[in-house]
Symmetry: C2
Subunit: 419 residues, 2 copies
């Protein structure tokens, strides 16, 4: 066994031991840890800023863009936001011990299906150091031990934040190994952890498509994938066109670089001539480039031609592909052909179109008359999220505390035997 | 692409198309199919028996034991039981469309988390042909298309049963490809299907440990594993000893060849001298061989010595390992060290021991004062099961209709946008 393999094995084994203890920790204690960690972040802003400085100094060497360097920066305001987010997780319902179902069988057996933590989470992420704190908080509050593997660009910031979190664990009498941080930037370390199917219960990669696909291919344990969002809005013939304009603009331009942002607009042919010029002026004002089908280009002079490559593309940028469709069926077919089953919306006043769209579009979130940007843990009421699953298995869409749990069957009898 | 790869790809693609249609089929139609299939099985007993005869004739050539040949046999009585089991699934609640959660967000968005089918299931199983019918019924009722891969020993029986099921699908106007049967016994076919991570949503292997481990290692999609059950009963010092005798005997001997049968008995040292001789006489009458620790052997003359290899062993036979432990902690530690996290029971009158056992033993089912044999879909009220998951991810313990579903987030607004 290589040193790296030994390191991964020891780290994951320690996490397992911590996970067993953490599974029995009650909410009061886990919440105390969250509050103490928030206080410690506020108390240690100077040390955290110094660690962050080391990353910022190294950033040009990694070839980071100005925008990426800005995301890396831990300002006082961002540290305060981090502390506040920990305090928000205090207020969330602890899913551990929640009874999902419970009933009495005809023979008198009392059965409950009760939530338990998954166990050990391996969390791989890139860039922003605030993710270190969020992920640790969600894992620990849901009773899971976590092994954090951050990007090399944020190594010093992550290590400093990790140290603060561990100090608070120890202060609360919780196992220090409940939150571990991979202390090497060696790329091969990830592979060593992914091989430990017996010790790690789930791996969650958050980052680019390449990372996620590599992790899914290598991992010997379940993976919660967080792949791309080729999201659509379909404006139906019965849509309130003012509402549709607001929804399209918000879905595309409110934050174009995220997975639930709009990438392709589909417009019913009957209202295309009224709707497209109007929405084009909104989008133009927001500096959105339009790539349109031929019908679209007849109605929007500024549109450039869309090619077959545009329809399955997640731009993550101020670019929108636009297509005029004959009817709801064509819209649904387009979404099923080119979409990524992430988030798709319809704007309509017709109850049957709404029902067909929500039933037939097979996406994690299907939205009627609202922005695609609402497929988000905070917006859907989960309070905090560790990612948005593009899988159908175990968890779909935003993953909050509950999605980090499994369950056990607890059965109470008074001597029942099977006949 | 090899012919086998092409065949797998075409089969799985057809299943995907069928799955889309099936997802929108309402319960009435799916139930009609179940009833028509039951009637067709009753109508076609002669043809089914003839197909079964071909398998029975070939069985000695496969080296099947007399017991295995008996399990393969489709008698009139067994065919009637098969038809009746389809009618039972008619009575089960259809999980598709079930609202798991629903609420209104502060901004007025109405959110529901609604069950949808997983999609396409690849089901691999061995021996008994009745599994063909059960698995198809569970998959279709939960809105999933299924590709069935049975054992070669039951090939003709499975093919004949499959033909009956498909005929009923067509009669009901449901897609014939909702239930497909792998029409080759080529062993490499399984590998071709396991590679189709984009077309198949979940693989469920049911059979020996070797099969399941191979499938888990090769599959490019999620797998619901159904591994071994090294199940324990711990008889606490406060146990009602008569109850404990009944539970131990039932757990071990009622059906020793199944995964929820008892394999290791743990007995509290304080009651070992009263309990062990009594339970040994029950077990002796049931022809159970006892392999005991040294303390056990002092109390049970007939016991042979247990070795370190016995504790993690699933005998699936009339053999029981027995160990005397000092206290609850040692019992829990033993179970966590040697058990397989399947089914573990405690017999106790002490509420704190019961609570600690159910909380600290990390098994799919933890049982107080009842037989381990109750960890079963029928017994726990799921109505029918496609397997007992030994995973923590997605589904744990018995998998019935609900466990064959995912969910989608359905959001209704009236023009909401994000700020």
């Amino acid at each position: 066994m290589s040193d790296l393999a030994k390191y991964a094995h020891k780290t994951a084994s320690n996490a397992r031991v911590a996970a067993r203890r953490l599974a029995g920790a009650n909410s009061a204690l886990k919440n105390e840890w969250l509050r103490k960690s928030a206080a410690a972040i506020r108390r240690n802003t100077r040390q955290l800023a110094a660690a962050n400085r080391a990353d910022l100094d190294a950033a040009p060497g990694y070839g980071l863009s100005t925008a990426a360097i800005d995301r890396l920066r831990l300002t006082d305001q961002r540290l305060e936001a981090l502390a506040a987010s920990l305090e928000e997780i205090v207020t969330l319902f602890d899913p551990v011990g929640e009874v999902i179902e419970g009933y009495v069988r005809p023979n008198g057996l009392r059965v409950t299906k009760t939530r338990v933590p998954l166990g050990v989470v391996f969390f791989i992420y890139e860039s922003r150091p605030n993710v270190t704190v969020d992920a640790a908080a969600i894992c620990v509050k849901s009773g899971n031990a976590v092994v954090l593997r951050g990007g090399k660009e944020a190594f010093h910031s992550n290590a400093a934040l990790h140290a603060v979190l561990v100090e608070s664990l120890v202060e609360c009498g919780l196992p220090a190994d409940a939150v571990q941080f991979v202390s090497t930037t060696d790329r091969n370390a990830v592979g060593e952890f992914l091989a430990l199917g017996d010790l790690i219960d789930v791996t969650i990669p958050r980052g680019g498509k390449g990372l996620i696909e590599r992790v899914a291919a290598e991992a010997k344990m379940p993976v919660i994938k967080h792949l791309d969002g080729v999201c659509h809005v379909f404006v139906d013939e019965t849509a309130d066109l003012d509402m549709a304009r607001r929804i399209v603009l918000n879905s595309k331009a409110q934050r174009p670089g995220v997975c639930n942002a709009l990438e392709t607009l589909l417009v019913h042919a009957r209202i295309a001539d009224r709707f497209l010029p109007a929405v084009a002026s909104d989008l133009g004002a927001a500096k959105v480039e339009i790539r349109g089908c031929s019908r679209t280009r007849e109605l929007i002079r500024a549109a450039v031609p869309a090619t077959e490559d545009d329809w399955p593309t997640e731009y993550l940028d101020l670019i929108l592909s636009v297509k005029v469709v004959e009817h709801l069926d064509e819209a649904i077919r387009h979404i099923e052909t080119y979409g990524s089953h992430h988030t798709d919306a319809i704007v309509t006043s017709d109850v049957r179109s709404a029902a067909r769209f929500t039933s037939e579009v097979d996406s994690a979130a299907v939205i009627v008359n609202a922005s695609t940007r609402f497929n988000d843990g905070g917006e859907l009421g989960l309070g905090a999220e560790i990612g948005i699953s593009t899988d159908k298995f175990h968890a779909r869409g935003p993953c909050g505390l509950r999605e980090m749990t499994s369950y056990k069957w607890i059965v109470h009898g008074d001597g029942q035997t099977r006949v």
